[in-house]
Assembly symmetry: C2
Homo-oligomer: 308 residues x 2
Amino acid sequence: MQKPIFQTTILGSSGAMPTSSKHTSTQLLKYDNKLFLLDCSEGTQMQLKRMKAPIMKINNIFISHLHGDHYLGLPGLLFTLHLLGREKELNLYSPPGLSEIIKMQFDICKMKLAYKINYHDLEKGGETIFEDSSLKIETIEMLHSIPSFGFLFTEKQGVKNIKKEYVTKYDMPFNKIIDIKNGSDYITSQGQILPNEKITIPPPSPRIYAFCSDTVYTEYFIDQIKGANMLYHEATFRKEFSDIARQKFHATTTEAATIALKANVKKLLIGHYSARYNDKELGSYLEEAKTIFSNTCLAEETKTYKIN
Amino acid sequence: MQKPIFQTTILGSSGAMPTSSKHTSTQLLKYDNKLFLLDCSEGTQMQLKRMKAPIMKINNIFISHLHGDHYLGLPGLLFTLHLLGREKELNLYSPPGLSEIIKMQFDICKMKLAYKINYHDLEKGGETIFEDSSLKIETIEMLHSIPSFGFLFTEKQGVKNIKKEYVTKYDMPFNKIIDIKNGSDYITSQGQILPNEKITIPPPSPRIYAFCSDTVYTEYFIDQIKGANMLYHEATFRKEFSDIARQKFHATTTEAATIALKANVKKLLIGHYSARYNDKELGSYLEEAKTIFSNTCLAEETKTYKIN
């Protein structure tokens, strides 16, 4: 059976301020038919439109922290959803304070949205903030100048698949198929026992995406993200500015790569580039990170990265 | 003598919500060496960067009203100016409420700007809110669903210029030149009186730009903008939607043109197009307006319009 789509698309990759070619940091995560917005920086609604993303299908928006470069596109997007006739509730997850900002802006212009926003205040790491039959999302606690969170997307363990030839051969009834998928053996009409492991294929191993937003280098959350299929870790600076990075509670290329290595993840995606570097200099970001963790790639706007 | 530069550049031309190709409404006005921002919609700082505008030279920002499509780019721009090391004070003009929004956003992320913002609350039309030796700026009261203002930029009457041949012929001293520019006659060393009007050229007539933001059709401010060299008037809808326009406190193409005609302005610039029309349909905006006021042009992003 084909695995559901699990991918992240970069809408912005710049840190702190945009450049003429790069928006501040935002990602659009897709799992199966679900769309999640990770941060919502200035210009996000235009990026979504340019990419023809079905914005009405976004039901959950996760704001890592309340620095402007991570949420200033939100009021505009919320207003646009209203204009487009949204009626469905929308979930907003962020450290405390976002609801006050949003409410004040709409109050001042006497605006009442046609849909309800459910505000979810994030208080600590390791909390499950979203869960359905196929996906679980937990907070990851970052170490930044203000409360900041990453988000851990963990696919649920799938059920076993039955080898097709047995279904046909024994004309298995539907309810028995469910039992087998859940671990039962099968007894044929002749009374023969077919052991579960003989007639099934194990489910694919669950995939994990660890999205780590603004943070200084810290090993605090390594255990939580261990073995992730993909880790996004900010790398605001090249290693030459490790002092400035520490001072501003940000990380460098080599620090992001060190976390990837120690957490034994499969792939590292870096972004949130300082605006002091131009686009041509980003190659050196990649080189530096690769000296420590070879399977690294650069977050590039409008590009989609599969989580496999 | 060459007149100072007086021009407006369109940074955004869409109304209410951006499209994949158009930002919401903002203009960058240049008079001589002064830069003014008229509204500051989402993405303005990126537009300014793309156009290589010297953003540190903007000292006065005018927000017409507190609907998100006219100010949501402001917090990001203010933060970027801070990151770029701005120390000079910045003047923000808007209807009451903007300071609370901005302060709350910076308070929540424990951010202190390195420069001072002077907030100027706009209360009524016809008020002079900026004046220096060459330019005066007054508010124009719009009629919208919330308090909304336009801005009237009036060039100061210049001084007379002396005909060069007289300066050379009589070797006029500097202090006399100043007197003549201010209206004095000139007495030659032989005692001959040269009348002021003989030796001077009248100053160029002062130019006026009337920027009228979101408003329903109203003739209330026509006297104030009479004879302007250029009028920007919103034209959110084509005439087919005049009922919706009225209901939403917006204007149509033919209404904007009617105001231009009645105010006897020289040129009309229309914009704030509804996102329901695509770029190809904007030609019909122009056609409709031109049936009433022929010297109309469309606000097109990144284009500059001279006020002459």
